[in-house]
């Protein structure tokens, strides 16, 4: 796998990001002086145990949470100070998100094609309805959902298919960065492998960068070019996937790596490789 020859241009850089929640007089530190960069076309894996602040960082980038201090710059424009919605839409078009729960991330009252077309329309992507139609069809094709299914409602799809539709929504406008927050956690193992494979292919074909948030280290290892390890809001270390897995610097990382059984890791990877063939035959 060519994990080293990605272009070294920073797409997103997070600098000294702090993100605190003040609730009931207590201050919860979800992110403490976190700095990292995501280069164009690479998958950055963010790992850490539950409550370590992975989602909070992702939400800061996409604008669902407000950073307490620090800066997030995307393509050279600063995202933390954006006030008006118009400006926001302008700048955020190139960052999209894939959600965790495929059951609740699609509006049950909208046809799935409509969901994607609406998303494009809100972001003013595409000249007219016809172009947006075409973009939606392309997105469906890319995630392996037959275009004829576009006028069905979300309830008539399985969890894995819905997650594909969620991915299609994120990819339809050809973003540069996609934030995937635990996007495989709600799926079962074989479907997880298919989705991970698909993300891998999309990354290779379109050069889209991903922030892949997960606590499943084997999946992160399979997919990521670089990995950041988060613990209680602190980013302990970042490095290429190989560096992190071969010689973890931080004792916590070692502990985290020790926690995955080696055989499970291998089986999952094999499942992931296997399903390339599986999905190729079942989808035709």
């Amino acid at each position: 796998m060519s994990k080293t020859d990605v272009s070294k241009k920073a797409l997103l850089s997070v600098n000294d990001l702090c993100m605190y929640f003040d609730s009931a007089g207590r201050r919860i530190k979800a992110a403490e002086h976190v700095s990292f960069e995501i280069n164009e076309g690479e998958v950055f894996g963010l790992v850490g145990e539950s409550g370590s602040g992975k989602s909070s960082i992702g939400k800061c980038i996409i604008g669902l949470n407000r950073a307490t201090s620090g800066s997030i710059s995307f393509h050279g424009t600063e995202l933390t100070g954006i006030k008006s919605r118009r400006e926001y839409t302008e700048k955020m078009r190139d960052i999209q998100m894939i959600f965790q729960d495929p059951m609740s991330s699609l509006n049950p009252k909208k046809q799935v094609g409509q969901i994607i077309r609406d998303a494009l329309k809100i972001q003013h992507i595409g000249k007219d309805a016809k172009e947006r139609d075409k973009m939606a069809a392309d997105a469906f094709r890319r995630v392996g959902i037959p275009v004829e299914y576009a006028d069905r409602y979300p309830r008539s799809f399985s969890g894995g298919q819905r997650q594909r539709i969620g991915i299609a929504r994120a990819l339809a406008g050809k973003p540069k960065l996609v934030i995937a927050d635990e996007c495989i956690a709600a799926l079962d193992a074989s479907v997880q492998a298919q989705i991970v494979n698909m993300i891998n292919e999309i990354k290779k074909e379109t050069g889209t960068a991903f922030l892949f948030i997960s606590h499943d280290l084997s999946m992160v290892r399979f997919l990521s070019d670089r990995i950041g390890v988060l613990h209680l809001g602190y980013l302990l270390e970042t490095g290429t996937a190989e560096e992190i897995f071969r010689e973890p610097m931080h004792p916590y990382t070692r502990k985290l790596l020790g926690a995955i059984p080696r055989c499970q890791c291998r089986i999952l990877l094999r499942a992931a490789n296997h399903s390339v063939r599986l999905s190729a035959t079942t989808l035709r």
Binding site: G63, L64, M92, Q100, S104, S105, L106, N107, I122, Q123
Partner: protein, 127 residues
């Protein structure tokens, strides 16, 4: 009858609060959708079904309440066109002139059963 809206607003509030937490609302937020789109485009279609059913369910209850109040003499004045007053007039002379009671009683039964059936049908259809 004046108090009918309380339950209704409680139910719709609970519905909105429930739907608001769904990830597709967040998804709309992340792409910069405005409040108007989120309220009318995402939330309302999802609570419409429940609200319509609730309205349909409250109709028979309202009809019954009105009839009951008029029957015991607390509702519409005698002479006005109300099922309750018709029933109570008919009831007074039920032994001599049963035909005065039967049509209004049958109508009332049909009305209540009918709107219950419609409400149930709508409930099934919107789920």
């Amino acid at each position: 009858m004046l108090s009918g809206w309380i339950e209704m607003s409680q139910i719709s509030r609970a519905q909105v609060l429930h739907v608001k937490e769904m990830e597709y609302i967040q998804a709309a937020r992340t792409i910069g959708a405005g409040n108007r789109h989120i309220i009318f485009g995402e939330i309302l279609p999802n609570i419409m079904g429940k609200m319509i059913t609730q309205i349909m369910i409250s109709i028979p209850a309202a009809v019954f309440l009105e009839a009951f109040l008029s029957f015991v003499g607390l509702g519409m004045p005698p002479g006005s066109c109300s099922l309750g007053t018709l029933l109570s007039e008919g009831f007074k002379s039920v032994l001599l002139h049963p035909y005065q009671l039967i049509p209004s009683a049958v109508l009332m039964i049909l009305l209540i059963v009918g709107s219950h059936l419609v409400a149930n049908g709508l409930k099934k259809a919107t789920e």
